[in-house]
Structures are given as structure tokens and as C-alpha cells.
């Protein structure tokens, strides 16, 4: 099975305090720690496991600045066979649909049976996978937390729905699935793994290589535009307890007792 996994390089929100620039044009990016989007890492692990079972190959593709190469390489160190870096100044400012158009063009250049995305990335939109499917006119399922390869081009999949219940479907390939965390346990990537793929050549594709016109992608093609970043006016918010640890724990115990928190 030929699988393409879409991976995005994002600020690691568990590691970083995200701050908005004074003029609201962006977040402060200088000191951010970047990594592969959490959901995408599960998608790559799943693709590798599928190929281990039924054969084929895994390709990871990322759209972004040249730095996105580092996440492609990291996922290759995990065991993905090929990487693709989709980078072009013309891609900057793309909206979700623009990103999907670039990825769909990359899919058309290959011969894939299955495309995996993460359920969502750093902007929490959860849109790209469904858009890629629509552009390719392939079937789609979101929030997939189980994949079983059946015979004759059919996958048996689970979607995680509200309450943690699992919606079982059968879906025909080629198809696009967005992957939910928890579907597997992504393997650890050590320094040695990274070193092994350090010299591997990663093909770079630009708009022209993908047959994409300027009107379809980038700022020009974006129907949805981000006007600014801002910090919402703080609401009432929590009363932040101040003082020494002793003082804080004493106060907290009093509060917990009063609220029935200590039995």
C-alpha cells in the first residue's frame, strides 16, 4: 500500500508560552520550540505499522518554510521511506483550502492508496484532511482511531466520536483519513535514528512543479484571511494565590475544606 502522510511543523504548545506581538501581526516566534504536530506523529506511526503488515511504502510531506525539512527528516527517522518538502514563497498566507490544494496536487503526482493527516494542527481548524478528500473526490473519515486493512481495497476503520464511543465504518480506497491521538504509541526517535537519515536527499517541490497557479494558493488565493492575533480581555479569571508555598497550601486547604473538597 502506498501511503502519503501530511505533517506540519508547529510550535510545541506544551513547551511554549505563546505570546502575541504588540502589533497583533503574529505570535512571538523568536524563542519557540518547534516540533511535528502531535496528531501527525500518530499518523506517521500508523502508516509505518500498516506498511509493516501489508507492504508498500510511506511518504511524508510537509508544506512550510525550508525549516519544515527538519520534521520531514524526523518522521523519516521514525521509519517513513520517503519525504517531500513543499516550499515556495507563493504558498505563504495560504488558507486551509490553499494548503489542501497544495497537498492534493502532491497526491496527484504520486500513486497513493491512502492519505493520512492529523485530526488537527496548531490552529485547531481540523479542516485540511476533509478538504484534500473533497478536492480529490475521495471518500473521507475524520478522527480515526483504528485502521484494519481488509481485502479488496477496503479499510475497516473506527472514528472516535463524542463520549469516546467508536463509530465503525468500512471505507473504500483510495481515501483520506484524519488520525486521532491514541490510535497507537508512536515510537521514540533517538539521535541515532536522526543521524541515519541526516544525509538523505529530500525532494523539494514548488508551485510550478505541482502545476499550481498563484490564484489558487498563497495570500492571493485565500478566501479566509487572518486579520490579527489578539489576547482577549481577561474575564474574572482565577484568584491567583500568592505567598510562600506554606501560605498557599494553608489557604488552599481552608478553601478545599469549605467547598467540601476534603473528606
Amino acid at each position: 500500500m502506498e501511503i502519503l502522510v501530511c505533517v506540519k511543523r508547529v510550535p510545541d504548545s506544551a513547551e511554549n508560552e505563546i505570546e502575541v506581538k504588540a502589533d497583533g501581526s503574529d505570535i512571538k516566534r523568536e524563542d519557540l520550540v518547534y516540533s511535528v504536530n502531535e496528531w501527525d506523529n500518530y499518523a506517521v506511526e500508523e502508516a509505518i505499522q500498516i506498511v509493516d503488515r501489508v507492504g508498500g511504502s510511506v511518504t511524508v510531506a510537509s508544506i512550510g518554510s525550508p525549516e519544515a525539512e527538519e520534521v520531514v527528516r524526523r518522521e523519516m527517522a521514525m521509519g517513513a521511506n520517503n519525504g517531500l518538502l513543499l516550499t515556495d514563497p507563493a504558498f505563504e498566507g495560504s488558507d486551509g483550502r490553499g494548503i489542501a490544494a497544495i497537498l492534493a496536487a502532491a497526491v496527484r503526482k504520486g500513486n497513493y492508496d491512502l492519505v493520512l493527516t492529523g485530526a488537527q494542527a496548531d490552529d485547531g481548524a481540523a479542516q485540511v484532511g476533509g478538504m484534500v478528500a473533497a478536492l480529490l473526490d475521495w471518500p473521507y473519515a475524520s478522527l480515526v482511531n483504528m485502521i484494519e486493512v481488509k481485502e479488496a481495497g477496503v479499510l475497516r476503520i473506527g472514528r472516535e466520536i463524542e463520549g469516546g464511543n467508536q463509530e465503525i465504518n468500512e471505507i473504500q480506497m483510495p481515501c483520506v483519513l484524519s488520525i486521532q491521538t491514541g490510535i497507537n504509541e508512536p515510537r521514540y526517535v533517538g539521535i541515532r535514528g536522526i543521524r541515519k537519515v541526516a544525509a538523505v536527499e529530500i525532494p523539494v517541490l514548488k508551485a510550478a512543479d505541482l502545476g499550481l497557479g498563484a490564484a489558487e494558493v498563497g495570500r492571493a488565493g485565500a478566501r479566509v484571511k487572518r486579520a490579527d492575533y489578539f489576547v482577549p480581555p481577561a474575564g474574572a479569571g482565577a484568584e491567583i494565590l500568592q505567598g510562600s508555598t506554606d501560605e498557599i497550601t494553608a489557604k488552599l486547604v481552608d478553601l478545599l475544606k469549605a467547598k467540601g473538597g476534603i473528606k
Binding site: 508560552e17 496548531d122 490552529d123 485547531g124 478538504m131 473519515a141 469516546g164 478553601l255
Partner: protein
């Protein structure tokens, strides 16, 4: 505003979802005089009850009944919506697992703008709609602008558009089932498997000590367990803790976990994502401990402590033990 607005009504067992009345509030933020059409798709006897409920909120209801639509399979519903919605339609959807399944692809198929997980709507200026979203798990907000003259699909976060005073809409139900047409999909719904019930039922607990990714390592689990034991509480958690298999799924609080209604909730090393907070009901007293003073959890907690959980929690445990 010229474009017709529509609201997708989620429903289950013959009852409309709470989002039904939130979407009409959202529609009125786009245009105060909006009279959106409720779209009710499904099958069986319960569907008329859903339509009647929707007609209490919306002036017009479109009903699409077909046996094949008994379960809301997005791959069947997307082409149906694509067929029946007029050109330039603005469709509001709840940002649920169904909304995420149907919405993005529908926007592409309708060649309409897609505005995902909207938490606020500033309004319409000419053809430009301005909405509010959150990024980085709620650590930053953004305004999005979109020209919606060619239509839009807008997915709306639950709880962000409180229902207005119930004024009965006295809506009309139009049965459009004849327009359903051919239903074929390359994805077939098989069944829903219910989540397993775990060793403890956190939904019945009054005091929860809930841990998140900030706990760092599985080896630190006893730090939380000792506090819970001292308090007479039970340990629950956010999703990454379950994903990493430290605790079983039955302990997860949130939209894809359990809905809990404790009196007191300790959120330790939890950022406060909306999917996590979505599982916390009944207005509990929330204490948050987080090392990031800007963590979104501090917006919703009653009391906060800015500290490293691994340093602070053992001190708190000691103090609780002494107090007993």
C-alpha cells in the same frame, strides 16, 4: 443580507442537540434579522419530533427523511447538502465530530468559505464576515475575515453562543424528502461501539484530582494518587494521559471522554482546552495548578496557583494530611 442562512440540526433518539438553539443565536450575530432555515436530516419516527422541536426555534424547517439516513454518515449527508442548498448559502454547523467530518469537504464542494471552530462573531460588513477563533489550544485568539458572498460553512464551538430567550418561532416544516435522490457513498456505517466502563466511575465522584501532560512522566503518577487519597478523592485526567496509557480511558474528562459533575475539581498540569473543559459540568469549584501563568485554565478556574506541579502537589498533600 441576501444569502439564505441554514442551520444543521444534530439530533439523537428523537431529540435535537443543544446546538440547535445555539446556532440560531450565532446566525443572529451575523445578521440580527436572520431567519435561518433548520435542516433536519434522518429517518424514522423520531424525526418528526426533532422537526417539531426545531420549528419551535426556527421559522422554517426543511425535513429530509430516508431510511439510509438513520445514522448521520457524513459521506451521505455532504452530497445531499451540496445538492439541496441554494447557491451562496451560509450554513452553520456545530463543531462536533460530525461537523468536523462533513464541514471542510462541504465548503470545498460548495466553493464556499470555511470558518472552523468559531467562538465569536463580530458581524458582517458588506460581504465580509469577521469571526473570532482560538489557536494554540486557546493560548492566542485571532480574527478571521472572509468574503462570504459566495457562501460559507461555519462550524460553531459549543457553549459560545448562549441560546436566546425562548420565543416560540412557530416554524413551518417543509417535507423535502422527495429531493433526497440517490444515496451512495464509498464509506459505509457499520456500528457504534460504546466506550468501556472502567474500574471507577468518575462521573459519580464529588471530588476529582485531575492530571494533565504537565505531570511529565508516568513515574510521577503516585504524586497525584497520594493527594487524591489524602483528600478522599479520585484521580481523573486529560486526554494525553490516556493516549500515553498511564491511565485507562474511563478516567478521561472531556468531549471524547466522560462528562463529570464534581463539587471540587483540581486541574493539575492541564492547559484547559475546550475539549477538556467540555466534559466538566455543574459549575464545580475549580483549582488550577500550572507553571504557565497564561495557561487558559486560569480563565475558568476559581483559584489558581502558579507552580510546578511536581514541587507543589507533594507540599499540598502534606498539608491536607496534617489538616485531618
Amino acid at each position: 443580507m441576501a444569502a439564505q442562512m441554514f442551520a444543521y440540526i444534530l439530533h439523537k433518539d428523537g431529540k435535537a442537540d443543544d446546538s440547535a438553539s445555539e446556532l440560531v443565536s450565532a446566525a443572529r450575530k451575523i445578521a440580527p434579522d436572520a431567519a435561518p432555515v433548520a435542516v433536519v436530516i434522518g429517518a424514522g419516527a423520531g424525526l418528526d419530533a426533532v422537526c417539531a422541536e426545531a420549528a419551535g426555534i426556527y421559522p422554517q424547517v426543511w425535513k429530509f427523511a430516508h431510511d439510509a439516513l438513520a445514522y448521520p454518515n457524513a459521506e451521505l449527508i455532504r452530497p445531499l447538502l451540496q445538492r439541496v442548498l441554494p447557491k451562496g448559502a451560509v450554513l452553520l454547523l456545530p463543531h462536533t465530530t460530525f461537523g468536523m467530518d462533513v464541514g471542510p469537504g462541504l465548503a470545498v464542494k460548495l466553493d464556499a468559505a470555511y470558518l472552523p471552530d468559531v467562538v465569536g462573531i463580530d458581524g458582517l460588513e458588506g460581504a465580509t464576515l469577521k469571526v473570532v477563533r482560538q489557536e494554540f489550544s486557546g493560548q492566542a485568539s485571532t480574527h478571521l475575515q472572509a468574503d462570504i458572498s459566495g457562501g460559507a460553512v461555519i462550524s460553531v464551538r459549543s457553549g459560545c453562543f448562549p441560546p436566546e430567550e425562548t420565543r416560540s418561532a412557530g416554524g413551518q416544516v417543509a417535507d423535502k424528502s422527495a429531493e433526497v435522490g440517490d444515496l451512495a457513498a464509498r464509506r459505509r456505517f457499520v456500528e457504534v461501539l460504546q466506550a468501556e466502563v472502567g474500574d471507577v466511575d468518575i462521573t459519580k465522584e464529588e471530588v476529582l484530582v485531575s492530571i494533565g501532560r504537565g505531570f511529565g512522566d508516568k513515574e510521577n503518577l503516585p504524586v497525584a494518587e497520594e493527594l487524591a487519597q489524602a483528600m478522599g478523592a479520585v484521580v481523573s485526567c486529560s486526554r494525553p494521559i490516556v493516549d500515553a496509557k498511564w491511565l485507562e480511558k474511563g478516567r478521561q474528562v472531556g468531549t471524547s471522554g466522560k462528562t463529570v459533575k464534581p463539587k471540587v475539581y483540581l486541574a493539575l498540569g492541564i492547559s484547559g482546552s475546550f475539549q477538556h473543559m467540555g466534559g466538566l459540568k455543574g459549575n464545580p469549584f475549580i483549582v488550577a495548578v500550572n507553571k504557565n501563568p497564561k495557561a487558559p485554565i486560569f480563565q475558568v478556574a476559581n483559584v489558581g496557583v502558579v507552580a510546578d506541579v511536581l514541587e507543589f502537589v507533594p507540599e499540598l498533600t502534606k498539608r491536607v494530611q496534617e489538616a485531618k
